[in-house]
Every structure is written in C-alpha cells, then in structure tokens.
Amino acid sequence: MFAYIIRRVAQSVFVLFSIALLVFLAIYAIGDPVITLAPQDATTAELEATARRLGMDRPLYQQFFIFLSNAAQGDFGRSFVYGEPALNVVLSRLPATLELALFAAFLAVVIGVPLGMYAGLKPDSAGGKSIMLGSILGFSLPSFWQGLMLILLFAVVLRWLPAGGRGDVGSIWGLQSSFFTFDGISHLLLPALNMALFKVALIIRVARAATRETIGQDFMLFARAKGLPPTRLVGVHLLKNILIPVVTVLGLELGSLIAFAIVTESVFAYPGMGKLLVDSIGQLDRPVIVAYLMATVLMFVVINLIVDLLYAALDPRIRLSGGEA
C-alpha cells in the first residue's frame, strides 16, 4: 500500500510538470501579457520596462526554467495583475471554494441517496416515477439559467436569501469559515443548491441502479429470510452496498465541484477559484493560471487517493497493492 502511494505521487509530479509546460506554451500562443495589460498609448520604452518587471523579456525557455527552479522551492512567482504571490492569490480563494463544494456535495448526498434508494425500492410507485422524472430536469437545466432563476425567486421576489457574494466568516477554535455564521450559510445556500441540483440527479440515478441490483442478491434475500427488520435491511445492508458506486461518483464529482464551479461562481458573484481562473485567463495572468492548475491537479490526485482508500475501507475484498495501480 505504501508503494502504491509513492507511485501515485511520482505520477502526479510528472502530470504537474507537463501541465506547467502546456500552460507556458498555450499562453505564449494566445498573446503577450505585456501588450494585453498595457494601455494603447504606452511607448516602446514603457513596454520594455514592463516586460523587464514581469520577467517577460527573456526567451520562453529561460522563463520556463526559471519558473521550474523557483517552483521546486514552492515559489510560483507573483501574479501580474494582483502583484501578490500567485499561490497566495489562489489559496486565499480555496476556503470559499471548498465551503461551496462541500456544502453542494453534502446537499447532493442527503437529497440524492434517499431519493435514489426510494426510487430503487419502489420503481413502479408514483413517487419513484416522479423522482426519476425530476432527475431528468436536474440534468437538463442549464446551470446558468437555473442560477438566475434561483436568484430571481429567493432573492428578488421572496427576498429570503442574498443574491450573491460570500457572507460573514466566523471563527471556531481558530478555524475560519462562513459555515459558522447564519449570514455565511445564507449566502452559501443558493449557489450550493445550484451546483447540487445536477449532482443530485446524478446520485439519484446511481443510487437507484445500485439499489435495484443489490436487492435481488442472495445475501439480501437471506437477510430478509432471517427476519431482519426492514429498517436494518435498508438502512445498513442495502445502504452499505450501494455506497461504493456513490462514493466513486462523488469523488469524481467533488473534484469538478471544486475546480469547475465557474458558472455558479460568476452568476452568484462568489469569490471562489473558478471565477479567479476565468479572470486570470482573460488577463493572461500566467503565474496565477499555473498556480491554479497545480493546486487543482494536486487536489484531484488527493481526492482520488482518498477514494481508493475509502474503497478498501468499504469493501474488505478490495486490497490496494503497488502492482495494480
């Protein structure tokens, strides 16, 4: 298992290197940040001075190697437009993004799993059918439009919830989070719901399929024949067995909730990492783009690792070994 983790880490270092190279080449192909950021009436001398200040006056390969050697020491350079260390710019957004993603994932699970199990246990009932119908809506509504509708309903018409932004941040045992204030949670609710709806639909389908498959299996029949109460049958034995596919999907989707919340973040003016990435690409802020992708790749690697470890915990038949990674 230890060898397995080592191997995973080595793979991710290679991925990080290739991503950095790609970003450098891509931005070089798109345009010159010095020109993009400069006013049109800048003189040649002023443009050259800017290029020197940003380190853009060297050939690309030199820029890349300087970046590599600094990055090896944890320094990703300074953001062109914020003037702050790029990694700080990205990481300062991380709490907001994590809160949103975790809240959305939480909503997706607590809504999706019970509904999916219900639809799986009673596929022909009116309830089961309408759940499946509802999940189609969850899949097909564009998140942009759906977000604006949520704002319109809950913020503009009913005025129950704020239309966007991040709420007050509270502090418990030194940990800072907007989960700790009512204002914070009220700001989180709409964007999290907006992101959760699609995932709810997904989890309903996964949970339903897994439920359908599991209830027909021998051990379930045996458990029922043994006279176990239905609550224990469903709440323990069924639930435990459908969790593996749910965890797989959730692991993959959590990554995308964290890294690609761009649409929701812009509609709700939520200061997360996705919004930062879009702005940075527009301004060709290379250090931030690189730092962002590095952080994201790292996150995906860690999440996948946790998912693999969870498998082993959930299903004792799965054993992690260096060989099969």
């Binding site: 798109i30 345009g31 010159d32 010095v34 020109i35 993009t36 950021l37 400069a38 006013p39 049109q40 009436d41 800048a42 003189t43 040649t44 001398a45 002023e46 001075a49 800017t50 200040r53 940003l54 062109f80 437009v81 914020y82 003037g83 702050e84 710019v89 300062s92 909503l107 607590v110 809504i111 019970p114 219900y118 604006l148 704002i151 319109l152 809950f154 913020a155 503009v156 009913l158 005025r159 129950w160 919830l161 704020p162 239309a163 966007g164 932004g165 991040r166 009512f182 204002d183 009220s186 812009s266 509609v267 709700f268 003016a269 200061p271 919004k275 702005d279 527009g282 301004q283 060709l284």
Partner: protein, 518 residues
C-alpha cells in the same frame, strides 16, 4: 425522507433569520462591473484601480463629471512659462494618520508612481513629461517638464499622493492595509482581492464629509448578477447597468442615472498596406486605401439605428472623438449622414462597386454588445455592395492579432484619459511611432503629416483657447480623411436604490463620496 424534510425546515429557518436585511442609512454598498486588482494606487493603470484609489487618496488635481480639471490637493496652479508649472497646495490637509501634507509628499509620490516593482502597466504614462520636481516651500512646488505639456494638470489627477515615508513601500504593504494612508474621503478596513473592499469614513478628510459611515465596493462582473443584486437589495448602487435591464430596474422603484462617457467606439480600416489580409478584390490590392471607398463605408453606417436599437439607448451616435462640450471638439463636424444611395454612388465612382470582400475583426469580451453591433455594421456594408463578414475574438487574442497587423477592419474603443481630443487622435490616428507614444492604437496605420503637425502644435500650445482651435481643426482633418470611423460614444448607466442620487461621470467612475440620499 426525514432528512429531506429536516432540510426544508432548515432552509425555512435560515431564510427567516436572513430575511430582515438591515439597510442601515449610514452604510453604502456598491456593485461594480470591472475588476480592481490592488490597493496600491501606483501599481496598475487600470480604470477600476484608479477608481478605487480615489476612495482613499487624492491627487494634486481632480476632474469633475464632465472631466474638466478642478482643484484638489493643489488649490491653484499656473504655467510660469512653457516648461514650468507652479502648484500651490491647500493648507491644513492631513493624512489619515494625522501627519500634515507637504510638497515633499507630492515629490515622493511623483517619484514612486512610475517606479513600482512588478507593475503590469505603470503610471509612467502620466509622469513621462516631467523632467524635475522642485519643492519651493512646504506648500509650493514647481514641476518642470522636458517639453511643453499643456495636459500636465489633468495628468496630475491620476497620480495619487501618498506620504513621503511610503516612497519605498511595497505593493504588499498597501494590499495588507499597512500603507493605505491617504488624504481621501475613506480609509480601507478590509480588502479581499478580486472580491470586495470595505471602507470607513476618514474623519480627517479635508473636503465635505461623505454621507456614509462605511462603504463596501463589491466586484460583481456578471451583468445579470449585478442587476439581481440591486433588485434584491444586496447593494444600493450598481454601475454599467445592461441596457436590457434598465426598464426592469426602473419599474421596481430604483433610479437610473446616465452619463455620456469619454469613450468613443469606432471601426478602423487598414489604409497603409497594398495587400491587406482580410480585404480582397478580384484585381488584388487594398480598396481601403481609396478615400471614396472609406467615405462610402462611413455613410453606409446607420449610427442612430445602432444606438437606439442595438444599444437600446446606452450609446450616443458619434461623428468625432469626443461628445459635444469636451475639449478639442469641432463644431463644424456633424454626424456622418446615413445615406446608402450616396454610399453606393461613391463606391461606383471608386470603381469598386460589388467587388470588395471584407472581414471586420472585433473583441468579444470587451465592449457592450460588440458582436451585435458588428453584425449590424456588416449588414449595412453588405447593403451597399461590400461583402462583409465578422470575426469575434477574446480580448487577449484580439490584441495580439492587432499588434501583428493580422486585421483589415477592426472594432475598437478609446476613452480619452485627459478629456481632450488631442491624446485620442495622437493614439488612434497619429503616424505610428512607438518611441514617441504616437499611433499606439492606430492599427489602420493612417498617416497624414498635416495631422501630425497639428497635433505637435497642440502639444506645445499651453493656451487653452488656441489649443482648442488647433485640435478642432485636426479633428476635421481626420474625419474628412476617414482616418477612422467613430460609431458611438458609450453611455454609462447606473442603477441606484430609491432615495439615492449621484452625478453620472464621463470617466465612468462610481464614487461613494459623491452619492447622496435625497
């Protein structure tokens, strides 16, 4: 099912708690469309950064709603001769930390502004004419320029004044609020990059005290989200109201304030090269070099219709570089008449009727409704027999293409930072000479020695009336040559909660200190 029910209850409880959103009379919340990137007032010449600087800092001079220069930290100024300007400081001004303002602070700020480490685009633009700064006494200083510079007073309105002791302060020191010591109406107390800044009123401010105890400026870049924030009462003021939302906002008891901006939106034409990549004729060559063709194109554009129907009133049709009433505008220039018949006749006369194929290139993410406007212009060109297509690119890509001259007709905008037409013409139509900063935005490479001479004359004419006349003549020359085709001036719309008033500004800035309750 229990979990789901519990969730609904939780939502209802939370909503109940969140429902009374106290809009205190002393707090002002603003939703702004453009990203500000730092609190260091000398870090980045970007419109939004300059706007945020104006909350915390003052400059020697300031500009009013119509972009005319007015006194700020300097009570008065005069040109001693062609090269020397004497500024008299307002007495009794103190910084937010209590230290009094002196001429040394001005000198230090002028020295720091063009020289900030890591600046992506520096304020050197506004200090480059300065050769020397002489501190005569604590309240008097003389700025000497390397060459006559009549726009020095307005350029000085861009240089925020910081205390002398912060001459070598880092950008970080400003961003973490250690160095945000200014003479302006507000003091920042919390800054989250790319999200919001919170200000409190500066008790030591020398001017009329702002009505607001606190002001929070939030970045809400998405148009729909910004309108929703105002409608939901999250914010009291928003800028850049999208035209489609104006009615909706007015219908719900909010106020709309409009102002014609100093930004002209234009179409430029490649008129230098013999072969241009996106224009063609059966016989080869570049028809855009022909004045008759350019005249035909400009008379083919129905500017009124574009302003009224596509921009829905968020634009004023333009026939020159700045709207009426600005400095250096010609009274003899009317809107180019919309006359497709005449345009066709001009095209026949040039010999290019039904022969020209053209593609106009524009940025997709920079100007309001740019894509629809360009589509309309292309249709208008098609109507007179110029087969026209449109290509839209993201800004970063577009700028690189412009610079590489991989365009033949292009869509651009220019906001006059000085409020005069001089700099607009120098940048967009002056003969390309990057060493002088001339023609930096002149991607069509229009070049006319007479124009260059007039602009040079204006640049050394300190006398305002005389300069105004020279610039008006220069405007007539460029427009007569169709050096570029102005289409419209952007009109900025602000949405304000009922009970608030403000003056719309030509520089599109939203300043909490000048927003009042009725």
């Amino acid at each position: 099912m229990h979990t789901f029910r519990a969730l609904i209850v939780a939502v209802a409880v939370l909503a109940g708690v969140a429902a009374p959103r106290p809009a205190s009379a002393d707090d002002l919340k603003l939703g702004i469309s453009a990203a500000f990137t730092s609190l260091d007032p000398h870090f980045f010449v970007a419109t939004a950064n300059i706007m945020i600087s104006r909350y915390m800092f003052d400059a020697l001079t300031s500009t009013n709603e119509r972009q005319q220069v007015v006194p700020a930290l300097a009570e008065s100024w005069e040109a001693k001769d062609d090269l020397r300007w004497e500024f008299k400081l307002r007495p009794d001004v103190v910084f937010s930390d209590g230290t009094p303002l002196t001429a040394n602070d001005i000198a230090a700020s002028l020295a720091r502004a063009p020289d900030v480490e890591g600046s992506p685009s520096s304020f050197a633009l506004y200090t480059r004419s300065i050769a020397n700064v002489d501190v005569i006494d604590p309240l008097t200083l003389v700025i000497e320029t390397a060459h006559p510079n009549p726009t020095l007073p307005v350029e000085m309105s861009y240089i925020s004044i910081i205390p002398e002791k912060l001459r070598n302060a880092t950008t970080d020191a400003f961003n973490n609020l250690e160095a945000t010591i200014g003479t302006g109406p507000f003091i920042p107390v919390n800054y989250v990059p790319n999200d919001h800044v919170e200000f409190v009123r500066n008790p030591n401010y020398w001017g009329p005290a702002p009505e607001w105890e606190t002001a929070t400026v939030r970045l809400i870049a998405n148009n729909g989200a910004r309108s929703a924030a105002l409608l939901a009462g999250d914010v009291d003021v928003i800028d850049a109201v999208p035209p489609a939302d104006i009615e909706r906002i007015q219908a719900s008891d909010n106020t709309i304030v409009s102002a014609v901006s100093n930004r002209v939106i234009f179409v430029g034409l490649d008129q230098e090269r013999d072969e241009s990549p996106f224009v063609s004729t059966p016989d080869g060559g570049n028809p855009l070099k022909n004045l008759l063709v350019r005249k035909a194109l400009t008379h083919a554009i129905d500017r009124e219709a574009i302003a009224a129907r596509i921009m829905k009133g968020a634009a004023l049709p333009a026939g020159q570089f700045l709207p009426d009433g600005f400095f250096g505008v010609s009274e003899n220039l009317d809107l180019p008449e919309y006359d497709p018949e005449m345009a066709r006749a001009l095209l026949e006369e040039s010999g290019f009727a039904d022969k020209v194929k053209l593609t106009i290139t524009g940025p997709s993410d920079r100007y309001l409704n740019a894509s629809q406007v360009l589509q309309a212009i292309a249709q208008m060109f098609n109507r007179i027999g110029v087969e026209t297509g449109v290509e839209m690119l993201p800004w970063s890509n577009y700028v690189s293409r412009l610079r590489a001259q991989e365009i033949s007709a292009f869509f651009g905008g220019w906001g006059s930072v000085t409020g005069e037409t001089g700099v607009s013409m120098l940048v967009t139509t002056g003969t390309v000479d990057p060493d002088r900063g001339s023609g930096g935005g002149n991607r069509g490479r229009y070049s006319n020695p007479d124009l260059d001479a007039l602009l040079a004359e204006a640049a050394r004419t300190i006398d305002n009336d005389a300069r105004n006349d020279v610039l008006a003549r220069a405007s007539e020359l460029v427009i007569g040559d169709v050096g570029l085709m102005p289409i419209y001036f952007e009109i900025t719309n602000w949405g304000l909660r009922d009970g608030l008033t403000m003056q719309g500004r030509a520089d599109q800035a939203t300043l909490a200190a000048s927003i009042r309750s009725q």
